[in-house]
Structure formats: C-alpha cells, structure tokens
C-alpha cells in the first residue's frame, strides 16, 4: 500500500453495520425510550425500541387496591392528559355498576377531556418543532399551555394529575366565573394555532424534513393497530367521538381532520387542526352547559357530597363503605375513549369483590410503538428523530 495511496484497491473497501443506541437519555425520546439502531452508513437497516424503563406495575397494583384507590394510578399513565385516563376508568366502572351519569357531568367531562387533548397536542407541537431545531414554537406553545393549566388549577386544585373525576360524575361543577374565562380562552385559542402554523407549517426546512418521511398507508396502519391522529393522517376518518359517541359528543358540532399521505407532515397537520376543533368543542360545551347535578345520586357507588359527610351519620357510613369496600357486580367491561394519542381502552374485570380482579390498559402509546420499525427502516438516521416525534407517545402510558 506504499505506492498506491491515490487509488484504493477494490478488495480492501469494507463497510460494517454499526449499532447505535438512541436514548434512554436522548432528548427526543420523550422520557425513557431506548431505540437500538443498526446503521449501514447513514441508512437505518434495523431498529428495536427497548421499552420498560418506566414500568411500575400499574396493572398489578390494581389487583391489590380498591376501585376508588386506583384513580390515583390512572393519572400517572399518560401524564400529559391525566383527566382522560380518569374519565376512561370511571366510565368502565360506571358500566360495571350500572351508574347513570347526569348530563352536566358528561358536559363537564367533555370540557376536561378536550382541555387535555389541547395540552397534549401543545406538547407535541412544541417538541416536534424543537427536535428539528425550531426553538421558538416551544415557548409559544408553553405560553398557552400555562394559561390553560392556570385555569384547570383553579378548578381542580392541581396543575397536573388532577384526580377530578369521580364515579358517577365529577368532583365539582365549573364555577360561572371560571367557565366564562375558560370560554374566553377557548375562543381566543384558534388564533394562537394560526400563529403556531405561521411559524412552521409553510417553513421550507420543516416541509423538507417532514414531507414524505415516515409514510404509512391506511391498510398498514389498521393492521398495526394504530389509532388516533396517526391513523387519521393516513386518510381514515376513524374517531371514537364520532363512531361511537360517549359523554354526549354527538351534541357538538366538530369535524374530523384527515391527512392524505400519512407522513410526518400529515400527522402534524392533523394535530394542528384537531386543536382548533377541540377549542370549538370546549366553547360549545361551556356555552350550553346543562343544568342539574354534577354527580349522580347513587348511594351504593357514588361518593356523597362532602358537606353532608361532615354532618350526617348516614353519609359518613356510605363514604366509608365506598372508599374501602365498594363491590361492583361480577362482570367485565372494555371501555374505549378517543384520547389524544389514539384509542385508550380499559378492560376491567370484577369478580364481585372490593378489588378489581384484573385491569388491563390498552395504551395507545404502546400500540403506536410498533409502527416505529416499519416506517424507519430504509430511511436516513436524521429522519428517525422527526418520525419518533411524530408518532407521539408518552412512556408512562407505554410502560404502565
């Protein structure tokens, strides 16, 4: 090789596959996801998500807790939209027990669920932009998110992990003054989305990084079990709020945005439009809040009003019985709602005892994780980060 440095002999050129660990501390992995990449040059030839770093055994805990106690656990599944998890779990147990939820409670739940969708999508927008190097959107998204959290804080007493939903309804009605300010916020919010879109939707760099990257068609997405915005980005208008309306969603006027190609850009556009629609739903629900009770009257399964608990023997006993020894009848329920990330399902089995026999959470983040491998393989390593961001998962829910 001394005299032939200018021309490399054919036989000596050799490449090898490199293994690269992305995460668990990579900023784009939204928590503790490790992705093991196999690279041929810059091309991804294999990919394996290593999950389970955040596994806390929530389903095991459910079998050792009373029905009431497990509420606190649901908040910590998808910690970006805790109230949606609570609503899903409450609806599952309500079905087991046969509790009728009053209209006002349902409308309040709709407001809360859509607020959660907004906070979760705002995080998505902030992060997906940050990951490709756009820093400003992050601050704009958090500006509105903090405003919304301030309002929710006023209602529930907590910024996140609110624990506001109860079996049979919600903890309290939305006070008139707060409802007015929340509606003002929701009426103003679509103009904020316009501002967000102005920043990156037409941006040449974002467009080139996102268009035709990570493409999935509808048939693939269905077989992989993708739901929510990721499925709708492929052009399939499946949304549980329309397909099987719960909590009175059929009363509100809103639209289901769908994509055309099913790439990173479509997933982004779908979520941006969903934010506008959510704000519409919040406005409508607050404007037409039904009169009546915010929680059902069912002495066997629904907590009595707190002021009565302090003053009356009967209510004190019922409160004690419900918290420590509520026994739904024997049976099983699969309850699904349209959470921000897809179909959130709770499969609750009761054997008639005071603790659930089995609780299984069909977590959309876990189901969506399977799409990572088929859409990343064959792409460049620089595409992996926007793709991971566009799938949008929360590891707390994925690992449970």
């Amino acid at each position: 090789m001394t005299s032939q440095t200018s021309t490399v002999p054919q036989g000596d050129l050799r490449t090898e596959v490199m293994t690269l660990n992305m995460g668990p501390q990579h900023p784009s992995t939204h928590g503790v996801l490790q992705v093991v990449l196999k690279l041929d040059g810059e091309v991804v030839i294999d990919l394996e998500p290593e999950i389970g770093y955040l596994h806390r055994g929530k389903e095991k805990h459910a079998e050792h807790m009373t029905y009431q106690q497990w509420f606190a656990m649901t908040d910590r599944l998808d910690y970006l939209s805790p109230l949606q998890n609570e609503i899903c779990y409450a609806m599952a147990v309500e079905q087991l027990c046969g509790i009728e939820v009053p209209e006002k409670a349902q409308a309040t739940r709709v407001v809360l669920a859509e607020c959660m969708r907004l906070t979760a999508h705002l995080i998505y927008y902030a992060c997906v932009a940050l990951e490709i190097g756009a820093v400003t959107p992050y601050f704009l998204a958090f500006r509105e998110r903090e405003d919304l959290f301030d309002l929710l804080d006023e209602l529930t007493g907590l910024r996140t992990n609110q624990e506001f939903v109860r079996f049979g309804g919600v903890k309290a009605e939305i006070p008139a003054d707060l409802a007015r300010r929340l509606k003002e916020w929701a009426d103003r919010f679509p103009s904020c989305v316009d501002e967000y879109e102005l920043l990156i939707t037409g941006n040449r760099i974002w467009y080139d990084r996102a268009r035709n990257i990570g493409v999935l068609n509808t048939a693939q997405a269905l077989a992989l079990g993708l739901t929510g915005p990721n499925l709708r980005a492929t052009g399939c208008a499946h949304d549980l709020r329309k397909a099987e309306p719960y909590c009175g969603y059929e009363k509100y006027d809103f639209e289901i945005p769908v994509g055309t190609v099913g790439d990173v850009y479509d997933r982004y556009l779908v979520r941006m439009e969903e934010m506008r629609q959510s704000a519409r739903i919040i406005s409508q629900a607050l404007a037409a809040m039904p009169a009546g009770e915010h929680i059902a009257r069912d002495y066997r399964h629904v907590l009595p009003p707190k002021d009565r608990v302090y003053r009356s023997m009967e209510e004190l006993i019922y409160q004690f019985k419900i918290v420590t020894d509520m026994r739904p009848p024997r049976g099983e329920v699969y309850q699904a709602i349209e959470a921000g990330k897809g179909e959130l399902g709770m499969y609750v089995i009761s054997d008639g005892g005071p603790r659930p026999y089995r609780v299984h959470v069909r977590a959309p983040s876990f189901a969506n994780m399977i799409a990572l491998k088929p859409i990343c393989v064959g792409r460049l390593i620089s595409d992996v980060v926007p793709i991971v961001g566009s799938i949008d998962f929360v590891m707390g829910e994925c690992d449970r």
């Binding site: 079990g225 399939c236 049976g331 699904a336 399902g345 499969y347 069909r362 876990f366 189901a367 994780m369």
Partner: protein, 187 residues
C-alpha cells in the same frame, strides 16, 4: 341495533361455532364475545378480518387473565374493531398451565407483536409462530411472571444482578447486600 349489525352478530356466532367454539353471553359492556379453542383461533380471526360482511381490520388489543384455581387456568383475550360496522368484538381462548402456549396472531394482525410479547412477559404464555418472543417490559433475565396471581405485590428481587460486558448474568456473591429499597414489603 341496525339490521347490518344484527346480521353481523349472527355471522360471528356461526363463525365461532364453525371454528369449534361458541358465542359467550353478553358482558356488561354489551360486546359480542366469542369463545374459541386455540386450534381454531387463527382461522376465526382471519375470517373476522377477511369476511366482506364483517371486516374487523383494526387490531386493538391482546391481553390475558389468570383465573388461578380454575382449569384451564389462563385466558387470552383479543379485541378487534370493524370500521364499517362500528363494532368491537371480543374473542377468548383458554390454555392450561401444563400446556402453556397459544398460536400467535402476528400473521393476521402484525400489530399484535408487542402485545403478545407483553403477555409472554407478564404471564409466561408462549405464542407459537411469534417472530421475536422475548420479554418486553421486565428485564430479559428476569425469571418470574408478575401478573400471575401467585406473584406477590411487593415483587421478587432478581437473584442474578451482575453482568460482565457481553457475558452471562452472574449470581449475587454470598454476603452481598440486596439493593437497598428493592423488593421492600410495604403492605
């Protein structure tokens, strides 16, 4: 219930009987539920997906239940969804503790891959024909199955805790303390 749905439910019942199973009584959520022996599982799910009248193309969920004390002990539960009918169906199959395996449905629904790994991890049920059956949430070297009813809530600390780079897991040396706080028994 619309006529199309009623016809679909009847068709589901027929398919379950043809696969050697039976329709189950409606549960609290009113879902159509079918029970099927594991030999007929793949055929039933494939016809649920491909039947033009049904079209259960959206895969949702696989999980298992440990009916400890009854025989067969384990029950694997599948949920799939039909976009045309806007309808969910639940399919159940049982397997006994002595013969702990069911066919993998990854060939019919590729999305089941991680869900089946989770069931394997948590219950120890093997899925025949699964492309990559490994633990998914617990560490690979862990020897127990946490969601079984005989697994204690406070957990079991793994015996093997050391691994030299590239080598096998090493047992904890005698006299070495357990990891502080791990496996503590709070009631």
């Amino acid at each position: 219930m619309s006529a199309a749905r009623e016809a679909a439910v009847q068709r589901l019942h027929d398919l379950a009987v043809a696969a050697g199973g039976a329709p189950l009584p409606a549960a609290n959520d009113g879902l159509t539920a079918l029970s099927v022996p594991r030999e007929g599982l793949l055929g039933l799910l494939a016809s649920l997906r491909d039947d033009p009248q049904l079209g259960f193309r959206l895969f949702l969920d696989v999980t298992a239940v440990d009916w400890s004390g009854s025989e067969p002990r384990f029950e694997v539960v599948y949920h799939v969804y039909s976009l045309d009918l806007r309808m969910r169906v639940r399919v159940k199959t049982r397997c006994s503790e002595r013969d702990l395996h069911v066919p993998s449905i990854v060939t019919v629904y590729p999305g089941a891959e991680y869900f089946e790994r989770e069931v394997f991890d948590m219950f120890g049920i093997a899925f025949d024909g699964h492309p990559d059956l490994r633990r998914i949430l617990m560490p690979e070297e862990y020897e127990h199955h946490p969601l079984r009813k005989d697994f204690p809530r406070e957990g079991i600390e793994p015996e093997k805790v050391y691994r030299l780079r590239g080598g096998p897991m090493m047992p904890r040396p005698p006299g070495a303390e357990a990891i502080p706080g791990a496996g503590s028994t709070t009631p």
